[in-house]
Amino acid sequence: MANIRTLTWYFYKPILAWNIGFSISAIFYILVYGPRVTGFMFFWKAVGYASTIFLQSYSAKNVYMYYRNAGYSIKRMYTYALAFDIAIFILMLFILFTALHFFAPHYVYTKGR
């Protein structure tokens, strides 16, 4: 079977910008409204994933055959790629909350008060 890490990267590359966009917008909302919207931002990320799958199925379905010929199902490729993306998002959240804790402990959320 082909190298799954490389295959996952090739599969993730075309959807990276779209999903990073969802991650950055989620981080922005957390900065504005505070940590209490973090749960909702995971839902926002799920919307990003649903739209990714829809757009890929519509515009890039032909390349699915490449991954199947490498021995992997498309469900599996999405699982690996989206798990990688959610790991990046969690890392971004961790960095954000750590930075706020150390550098701006009295940061006041401006909205929703």
């Binding site: 079977m1 082909a2 190298n3 490389t6 295959l7 090739y10 590359k13 075309p14 890039a60 032909n62 390349v63 699915y64 055959m65 490449y66 199947r68 010929n69 490498a70 021995g71 992997y72 199902s73």
Partner: protein, 218 residues
């Protein structure tokens, strides 16, 4: 040596039976030519064997062991009619993940690969991309290869280059090939199967293709 067997396949579209009495087996070391008119279900049959099309009933097995999805664990590879390579990645990087390491030297020595290995699929012309994609599938890790119209969209000279490669590959793999260029199929195949009215007819003499109304003369 493994044997691929497809049996009891029944496929219906909008109440119309496309496939109903299909029996097909392919051993490693054998090339099976699959012929049939437009819309008779040749591509559908290959997709069912590969595992990307669901049929009402189907049995697909290798050495009498049922396989749910042909592509799992590189048992079966499939060349679709459309282009399938991602367009934004270099061809050599894509090929390394698909091509069998045992066949790498043969593949890397192909003139078409030598010309375009450092380009992306988007930078290669349609016919040449088709040739590259076909070669990647033929040299892939799979035990069985399904080729859906490999001779279409390429020039006659390129088709002539394919045939010895298919024959050489068939020493290690089982190959099922379908195309409308029946003369190429007859030339490259050990056995020929005609799909007619949803049923497989095992052709023992090329004259039967006239009898079944597939061609008017040889």
């Amino acid at each position: 040596m493994y044997t691929l067997r497809a049996d009891s396949i029944e496929l219906t579209f909008d109440g119309r039976k496309i496939l109903q009495d299909v029996h097909l087996s392919c051993k490693q070391g054998e090339v099976i030519g699959l012929l049939g008119r437009n819309g008779c279900g040749k591509s559908s049959l290959l997709k069912i064997i590969f595992g990307t099309l669901n049929a009402a009933h189907r049995y697909v097995g290798i050495d009498d062991k049922f396989i749910h999805k042909g592509y799992h664990n590189n048992r079966i590879a499939y060349l679709p009619q459309h282009n399938y390579l991602p367009t934004n990645i270099r061809i050599d990087k894509l090929a390394r993940l698909l091509v069998d390491p045992l066949s790498w030297d043969d593949f890397a020595g192909l003139p078409i690969y030598q010309r375009y290995f450092n380009k992306t699929a988007g930078q290669v012309s349609g016919g040449e991309l088709r040739q590259l994609e076909t070669m990647m599938i033929i040299h892939s890790r799979a035990d069985f290869i399904l080729l859906d119209e490999p001779f279409t969209h390429i020039s006659p000279i390129q088709a002539d280059e394919f045939k010895p490669v298919i024959r050489a590959c068939a020493k290690r793999k089982g190959i099922i090939v379908t195309d409308h260029q029946y003369y190429n199929i007859l030339e490259v195949s050990d056995k020929v199967i005609l799909l007619k009215d949803g049923c497989t007819k095992h052709i023992t003499n090329n004259e039967e293709l006239i009898t079944y109304g597939y061609i008017s003369g040889i």
